[in-house]
């Protein structure tokens, strides 16, 4: 058994909030640079990708947020079964987010009630997903999620007969109708199977993968390639200004489901694909 210190835990959450919002992951930065080379000289698409790469450099140098929408903080905790947490873990996550968003001059973007819309003022509460794993450590991942891309996301349950092509057509239509709104070039997280809440969570977890990494499930890896090709044929392009790069990557996570259902969750992730992790 191993004791996890509350203060160290809280401080780590705070530091991850700031890191995630100010440092674009290297794989995303590299993908933006590679995409720029694929767009025509003198095009607005190329101009936009140039701006985004420069923006990431400025944010990292100056320690300022990559995007003004520093999101609602989604916090994933993988807790080793031999780790001892003798404190209220949700409270500690909340305190970490409060500190991080305060100390880091990050935007407070949480409404207390979906209809009353009063701002909570400290970006709490976050959305927390906990799971148990082996070992004595705790892995903390903070993934701030912006509103523009989240507003384009959805869960829909198809009959099994819709099949693979039905999934591809659905995702393509989602991307087409979202157009410029989710800040392309986007990354797509696709949760297949389960129930509606399980599919949605899969679509979020899928987005934590590294761009260019291979999906270990061959069917899903092939599906990712087909969806990527289809959505990049839409000519939405960077910022929606036309071009070859509508999507930087597709991540599918599939789980078993009911014999009558084919749930499909699509989470849109903008190009500011922010997440940071640490192990305590």
């Amino acid at each position: 058994m191993r004791h996890i210190d509350k203060e160290a835990f809280t401080e780590t959450v705070a530091a991850l909030c700031i890191k995630a919002c100010t440092c674009l992951p290297e794989d995303v930065y590299d993908a933006l640079l590679a995409a720029r080379e694929r767009e025509a000289e003198g095009s607005l698409a190329r101009c936009v990708l140039e701006e985004l790469a420069e923006n990431a450099r400025i944010a990292a140098e100056e320690g300022v947020p990559v995007c003004q929408d520093t999101g609602l903080a989604i916090v994933f905790l993988e807790i080793g079964r031999e780790a001892v947490l003798d404190f209220d873990i949700r409270d500690a996550v909340c305190e970490g987010v409060r500190r991080g968003y305060g100390d880091g001059y990050l935007r407070k973007s949480v409404a207390k009630h979906p209809l009353c819309r009063e701002n909570t003022g400290d970006n709490t509460p976050p959305v927390v997903h906990m799971s148990l794993t082996e070992g004595e450590h705790i892995k903390i991942t903070v993934a701030p999620k912006g509103g523009g891309s989240e507003n384009m996301s959805s869960v829909k349950v198809f009959p099994p007969a819709a099949g693979r092509q039905g999934v591809i057509d659905h995702v393509k239509e989602c991307v087409r109708s979202a157009g410029a709104n989710p800040c392309p070039p986007i990354i797509l997280g696709i949760g297949l199977g389960g129930t509606i809440e399980a599919a949605a969570l899969c679509s979020k977890k899928a987005l934590l993968r590294r761009l260019g990494s291979e999906n270990p499930v061959p069917e899903d890896a092939a599906l990712e390639q087909d969806i990527l090709r289809e959505v990049n044929s839409l000519n939405i392009g960077p910022a929606g200004y036309g071009g070859r790069t509508t999507c930087l990557g597709v991540f599918v996570k599939s789980i078993p489901c009911h014999i009558a259902s084919l749930p499909v969750a699509v989470t849109f992730q903008c190009h500011a694909a922010r997440h940071a992790e640490a192990v305590l």
Partner: protein, 180 residues
């Protein structure tokens, strides 16, 4: 792609010189306002009361910046999705608003109102918030400070990089390259 330098407040002539797909470098004054401020503007209009900002020729930037760090003019300040403001926009264009800066698709009503009132919708690159903040040379809260990041702020900007998305002739740049 041509690049045009313009200054805000915008003259009707300046608006007419812009075509969908042009690159623009904007200098001058812009006001930030997003969902909550627009809702308050709409209440004032409904009550027949004056708006806190004289809109004639002005430009609204749909943005809610991050808090400014000490010694800085403004925090990161990129555009938010403009479409959420569509329901309130024609009434503001009728009152003289001549430019909007945001990102994303607009409604048919907004496109038609741009033609009717000679206004333009300009796109800032979504997510380029640290870069766009560098164009802001002054920032002060005009009203609705209680709204935090959603307060109305007057910004002085220099060479803000934008693209013309809807021009006064009714062209919508997003639709010009759309694949059906």
């Amino acid at each position: 792609m041509k690049t045009v330098r313009i200054t805000s407040p915008l003259s009707p002539e300046a608006c007419r010189s812009l075509e969908a797909g042009d690159r623009v470098l904007l200098s001058g004054t812009v006001y930030t306002a997003r969902d909550a401020a627009h809702a308050r503007f709409a209440e004032l209009i409904k009550a027949g009361r004056p708006l806190p900002v004289e809109l004639e020729g002005q430009v609204i930037y749909y943005a809610g910046p991050t808090p400014a760090m000490p010694g800085r003019v403004i925090g990161s300040a990129g555009p938010t999705t403009a479409g959420r403001m569509d329901v309130w926009t024609p009434a503001l264009l009728e009152r003289g608003l001549r430019g909007m800066i945001g990102k994303g698709l607009r409604s048919e009503e907004v496109r038609e109102a741009c033609m009717k009132y000679g206004a333009v919708y300009l796109g800032a690159t979504g997510g380029a918030a640290a870069l766009l903040a560098r164009c802001v040379t002054e920032c002060s809260v005009v009203c609705y400070e209680d709204l935090g990041c959603e307060a109305v702020r007057r910004l002085a900007v220099r060479d803000m990089p934008l693209a013309v998305l809807i021009d006064v002739f009714g062209n919508d740049f997003y639709k010009m390259h759309q694949v059906k």
